[in-house]
Every structure is written in structure tokens, then in C-alpha cells.
Amino acid sequence: MVRPLTMFFTRLAVAALAALPVAALAADDAALVERGRYLAVAGDCAACHTAHGKAPFSGGVAIASPLGTIYSTNITPSATHGIGAYTLEQFGRALRAGVRADGSHLYPAMPYTAYAKVTDADTAALYAYFMQGVQAVDTAPPATSLPFPFNVRLSMGLWNGLFLDTRPFEPDPARSAKWNRGAYLAQGLAHCTTCHTPRNFLMAEKPGLYLQGASLGTWHAPDITPGKPGWDKETMAEYLRTGHARNGATAAGPMREAIDLSFSKMTPQDIAAIATYLDDLPAPPRATAPVAVAKIAAGDVAEMAGGVGEGERLYRNNCAACHQVDGDGLRGLPALRNHPMLRYPNADNISMAVLDGVWPEHGQDMPGFREELDDREVAAITNYVATTFGRSTVVMSPERVAVLRQGGEASPLLLLARVGMGLGVGVVCLLWWRRRRRVR
């Protein structure tokens, strides 16, 4: 556990600071609070800190991590259950260094590694919003308890030492204001890298593969570096604003939520800035653009005669009602033919959409088929969609569907950590025993 002495001094400091009066709300503060509200939207705090149907920012959202379930905290200005007693400095440390007021560490499910880039001024605006613009809620969400040794938050101190870059954002004078604004937002509050950069086995981002795509355990966050066929600056901006784009892309899963709660509510200028920044990144060499699938002449003579394979039959009976037999959708129902997700390096997102559906905040939704279809059937539909509408060569197996269905693979980290610790203890015992023998 956290060292008791540190805790004592920290608590003393908090009590002392809490005794200071909070500055009275002036007219300028309203503007600061509003700016903070906008920045909270850009940072998508609500996605993790507002549970469905509960008071805003009162926490309790269960975040599935490979190490176990992490529950988000109450960040309303409640003095007893939230961050009401936090000073600006403590708020800043939590936001940008992942350290709570009591000195304990946050897990990087809170993307403080990205929020480290947020400026002091923006931190102050966020602080003003959370202290004055949010209703205090005196309820405690469930406590997080990960299996040993990850419940030892001190372990996060080690991890931060290895991987946390505490340098704040530095604008590049050689670049335009628009680029810098986009870089600041993308690297910081919008925390794109948290999902879109692959991680090493210690779950730290690999800087050499910045934004080149990563699995979140179930959904795949694709490569968002420039040069991908069908994607340009305008298309990316359109996608971020609405969740769909002229190239047929439709957002699903965690990105759908991020667009609903965050990107769709940001200014068009900020979205254009993010798109400008993304469009300017170094990109890996691309293979030649895949050949598009031509329009399919849809018929059902073979279907009526029982002459279609299982994947096609399942597609026709479960999916074609909305996506149509030719995969072109209709009047706002999305097309699958040449859908950008069919060019991903894996078929996980197809299967995830089939399992869980797509539930945007506004507009037409797609149901999930988790209860109706077994793993084999989900794999068959996935493979049919990938090959027929995308000419993709990725293959989905029933075994992988089973993993997706249960929420992803268990991380080897737990076993590794415990084995590692066991070995460490074993080595210490051995050395001590040998020392004892020598002494005798």
C-alpha cells in the first residue's frame, strides 16, 4: 500500500488548503467556466465519468481493462465523495500526472499521459468548470480492486517513471496556428493516441508506431495516419463531426461514443484543425490501393433454390433487410460495399458490430445479434461480408469470435507479474539461505 508517512503529510496539506476560502465567482468566471465546459467535452470526460442514467460526472462507469474492471471516480465538486476539496494544483496533478490529492496514483485508464499536454490556462478553465459548473453529487461509485499486484498503486509510480512524458505542449513556430491547435487538441484533450497507438507488453504506447492502429481488446482502433485510400483532410473532418463520411465510413463502438459525446460537439474550426494535424503526420509506406468492389447485381434465384453458402444465407436472412442483398444500404441505412472497415488488418470490428450492434445517440441504430447467432454463425457472416463487399483477405474464426464475445483476451501481464514476483521472492530466499550458510 501507499507509504503511511506520505499520506499523513499529504492529508495535512489538503486540510490546510481546504481551509482557504475559494475565490468568489466573478463575471469573468462565467466565461472561464464555459471554456472549461467546452474543454471537458473535448477531453470527453463524460465518456468515463458519467454513467448511463446517473448524475453527470458522478463516476461508476465500469471500464474493462486487461487487468480487470476499473471504476471511474466521482469528479463532481462534492467535498465528501468527489473532488470538492481539491485545489487547482491538486486538480492539475491528477489531470496531467495521474496523481490523486492523497498522493495515490491513477491507472492510465485515465489518459493522463495525454492530458499531460494540457496547458496551465486550460487546466484552470477545467478546474473552474468542475468546481462551479457541475452539480455536486454525494454518492460513492464502486471501488476499484484489481488483482494483486496491480492493486498496489505504487506500481503505477514505477510505470510512470518508465513511460510518462510530463512535458507540456510546445507549439511549433514553424507550423500554422491551425496545425498547432490541431496538434494540441489531438495529442492532449482528444487523446487519440490512447486508442490508436499500439502498446508494448507493459501496456505503454510504442512511439515509433504513433497512431498506426491498435486493438482495444475487442474493437480495433484503426491507423489514422495520412495517405490511406479514401481518406483526406475533409473526409476526416466530416467523419469526426458526424460519425459518417463520404467514403462510406460509419463510426461504431468506442469511436461512436467519442463522436457522440465529444467530437460532434466541438467547433468546426477545432475539428478542421485536428484533421489538419493528422493529415500532416509521417505515414508508413502504403501498399497500392485495394481494388474497389464493383456494384453487385443482386438477385435471389440461387437463394430460393438453396444454392448459397451458409455465410451468405445468414447475411441474407439477418442483415440484408437493412444493408440490402447488394450491400449498398439505402436512404440512410449504411452500405457495406467498400466500407473502410473492410480494409482493416483484422475483421474484429465486423464481428463486434454483429455481436453488439451500433447505437448512435441520434439516428438509425443497428441491433446486436449476440443472442441470436453463435460464434460459428458470426464468423460465417463476418467472412462473407469481408470477402463479398470488401474483397478482404482477413479471416475471422469462431474461436476469435468467442474471445470477442467475452470482452477480449485476458492479459498475460497478471500472470507475468505474479510469476516475476514469485521468481524475485525465490531469488531473495535463495540468497538469504546461502548467506546464512556462509555465516555458519
Binding site: A297, A298, V301, M304, A305, G306, Q324, G332, L333, Q364
Partner: protein, 166 residues
């Protein structure tokens, strides 16, 4: 009547489907398709010619034409012979101004004409217990209204898209 009538109907459908799937199986292979067409080329040619007159269309999809032809042969006695007779009647002008008219002597040809139209426009061959559904989406009636409607069971569009004037 006892419920076993239904059993027979269903059995016939499965037999029909099995036979068709035999055809469809060969449809999917281009080489075998050509072989089939060559073997019964003459009969199929009469069918497509008569179908062209009855529907006013040309350039039929081969898989659809063969599926309907096979199903009509299965459900209509002496179909090929009837086709030839119908072809003659149509050439002699059994339908003026877009309406078929057959005298009593040629009533069977009138029925055959309607059966062929039912096949192309509704995708169904035969009647009653022998009826077979060969196609649905690509029937000529669904194609005729495709700009304004979709075949029932397929979605029109996102909720509310039907408010606008078609």
C-alpha cells in the same frame, strides 16, 4: 381435409427446390451453364422469345430465365409444346393494344400466357400445391417500382425517410 395435405405441399416444395438447386448448381458454373443452354437451346430460345413478347422486354438475366423456365416446365404439363402454340398465337395477333384476348378454342394458351407473366412478374410458377417461388427481388413487378418502393421485408430507409414525397 386432414393436416397431411400440408405435408405433401411442403414435400413437393422441397422436391422442387432440390430440382432447382440442381439447376442452380449448374447455373453457378459458367461452363455447365453453356452446356445446359446448348442441350436445350431450342426450347429455351422459344421461352425467351415468347417471354419477350409477353413482357415487352429483352435481354433477360440468364439465371432468372433458366430458373423460371425450369420451374414452369415442372409445374405445367406439356410446357414446351404449349410454348410453341402460344408463340404462333401471339404472332397471329392474340393481343392488340396491350391486352391479350384468346377465343374459347385458344383458352389454354391464354392460361399459359398468364402463367408465364406470373412467373416473370411475381416470381412464382404454378398454382396451389405445386407452386414454386423462383425469385423475389428481381421479379419484374418489383423492378417496375424499384425507384419508389422496396420488396416487403427489405428496409425502405432510415426511420422517417418515407415522409418525403416519392
Amino acid at each position: 381435409m386432414t393436416p397431411t395435405v400440408i405435408g405433401r405441399r411442403r414435400a413437393l416444395r422441397f422436391v422442387g427446390a432440390a430440382m432447382l438447386s440442381g439447376v442452380a448448381g449448374s447455373l453457378l458454373s459458367a461452363t455447365r451453364t453453356r452446356t445446359f443452354a446448348q442441350a436445350d437451346g431450342a426450347a429455351l430460345a422459344v421461352f425467351t422469345q415468347v417471354s419477350g413478347v409477353l413482357t415487352g422486354k429483352s435481354g433477360f438475366d440468364l439465371a432468372l430465365a433458366m430458373g423460371l423456365y425450369q420451374a414452369l416446365r415442372q409445374t405445367t404439363p406439356d410446357f414446351d409444346a404449349g410454348l410453341v402454340a402460344l408463340k404462333v398465337s401471339l404472332a397471329q395477333g392474340a393481343g392488340a393494344d396491350g391486352v391479350l384476348a384468346f377465343d374459347d378454342e385458344h383458352k389454354p394458351q391464354g392460361a399459359l400466357a398468364q402463367a408465364i407473366l406470373q412467373a416473370w412478374y411475381l416470381g412464382v410458377a404454378g398454382k396451389g400445391a405445386k407452386a414454386l417461388c423462383v425469385a423475389y427481388i428481381e421479379t419484374l413487378s418489383n423492378r417496375a417500382v424499384a425507384a419508389e418502393l422496396v420488396p416487403p421485408s427489405y428496409s425502405y430507409g432510415a426511420c422517417g425517410s418515407w415522409q418525403a414525397r416519392p
